[in-house]
Symmetry: C3
Subunit: 138 residues, 3 copies
C-alpha cells in the first residue's frame, strides 16, 4: 500500500474566491505513483470548502449569491462574531458546501465524469490557508 | 490490496427522481470480494447527488420540496442559464445534497445502521447519466 | 493493510446536541495502530450528522439557529410526519450538515488544520444512537 501527502497553500486577493484546483490534484496523483486508490482533498480550515462542480463563471456567481443569501456576511448577525471574529457567515457557508471530496483513482488517473472539476472555495480569505491532499492505494 | 470499479447508468423518466441504489452497491461489494474496506459511491455528473437517508416516500417528497424551495427551477433566475442551459437549479440542489458517500465494508457487508439506504438523486434527468462505485480494501 | 472498527454510542439529554468527538476518534486511531491511512467517521442514523468545524459555543448556537430556520421542528409541516414520526425536520437538517467525514491519518495522527474538530450533531436525540469509526491503512 502506498500513501502520499501534499499541501496546497492559498492567499486569495478577495474575501471569497472559487479556485479550480483540478490540475494540482491531478499532478499530486501522478506524483504519488498510485494506480488504483482514493484521493482525499479537504480544506484544513473551517471557513472554506472543497467541492466538485462545473468550471463555468456564471454558475460560480450563482453559487456565491446562493450562499450569501443563505448566510450573509454581517458583523452583528452571528453569535460567533461576539468573540471578536467577523466570519460567522463563512463557517455557515462552509457547512453547506462541505469540507472535502473523495475521488477514485483508476489506472493512475482521476476517475471523473465529463464535467467534474475540483474547487477550493474560500469564504474568509486574504490570509494564508491550506488544502490537504492525501492519497491511498497502490 | 484489492480494488474494484463499477458504473451504474440511469435515464430517468422524470426531471427529478430519487432512486434507491443500495441493492446495486451491495452486489458490487460482493462482486469485489473485499471483506474489510471502503466503498465510494459518487455521482459522475454535476447536477445529481448520491446521499444516504431513509427510503420513505413522504420523506422523499419533503426532500424534493425543500430543495425546490431553496433553488427553484427557473430558466431566467440563474446566470448559468444564460449559457443556454436551463439547469442552474440542479447544480445548486446537488451542492446542498452532496456528490458522494463513503461506506465502510466490514466482514464483506455494507456496515450500516438500521435505516441507512443509498440514493441516487437526479435533478436534471431524462438523459443518460452515471454513478461510480469504487471499492478499496482486502 | 490494517483495518479497525469502533462504534460510539450516544443518548443525549436534549433533542438537539452538538458533541465534540475528536478525543474519541483520536483514541481510535491510536488503538488501530494505523500510521498512514484514512479514517471514516459517520452517523449510523439518518437524523444526525458528523461534521468538522470549530468548537466555539456561539458558533454552535449559530449552526443550530441556521438549521432550525431552514427546517423547523414542526409536527404538521412534513409529509414524513404523517407516518407517525415527528422528526421530518431532523432528516432535513442532517442532509444539510452531511453524514460523514473522512480524515487523513499521517504519522499515526489525525492530519488536521489548526481549528478542525469532529462533531456529532444530534437532531433527534434522547434515545440511543451510534457513530461508526472505520480506519483503513497501514
Amino acid at each position: 500500500m502506498k500513501s502520499y501527502r501534499q499541501e496546497l497553500w492559498f492567499e486569495t486577493k478577495e474575501k471569497r474566491e472559487y479556485i479550480n484546483i483540478t490540475p494540482k490534484v491531478r499532478a499530486a496523483v501522478q506524483q504519488s505513483g498510485v494506480k488504483e486508490g482514493l484521493v482525499l482533498v479537504n480544506a484544513m480550515h473551517i471557513t472554506s470548502s472543497v467541492y466538485i462542480n462545473d468550471d463555468e463563471p456564471g454558475l460560480i456567481k450563482d453559487f456565491d449569491e446562493f450562499l450569501e443569501k443563505m448566510a450573509p456576511y454581517d458583523k452583528s448577525r452571528y453569535r460567533h462574531n461576539r468573540t471578536g471574529e467577523d466570519n460567522g457567515d463563512a463557517h455557515l457557508k462552509r457547512q453547506v458546501f462541505g469540507r472535502e471530496v473523495i475521488v477514485a483513482i483508476t489506472q493512475g488517473e482521476l476517475d471523473f465524469g465529463p464535467w467534474e472539476q475540483i474547487f477550493y472555495a474560500e469564504f474568509d480569505g486574504r490570509r494564508r490557508k491550506r488544502v490537504l491532499i492525501k492519497i491511498l492505494g497502490e
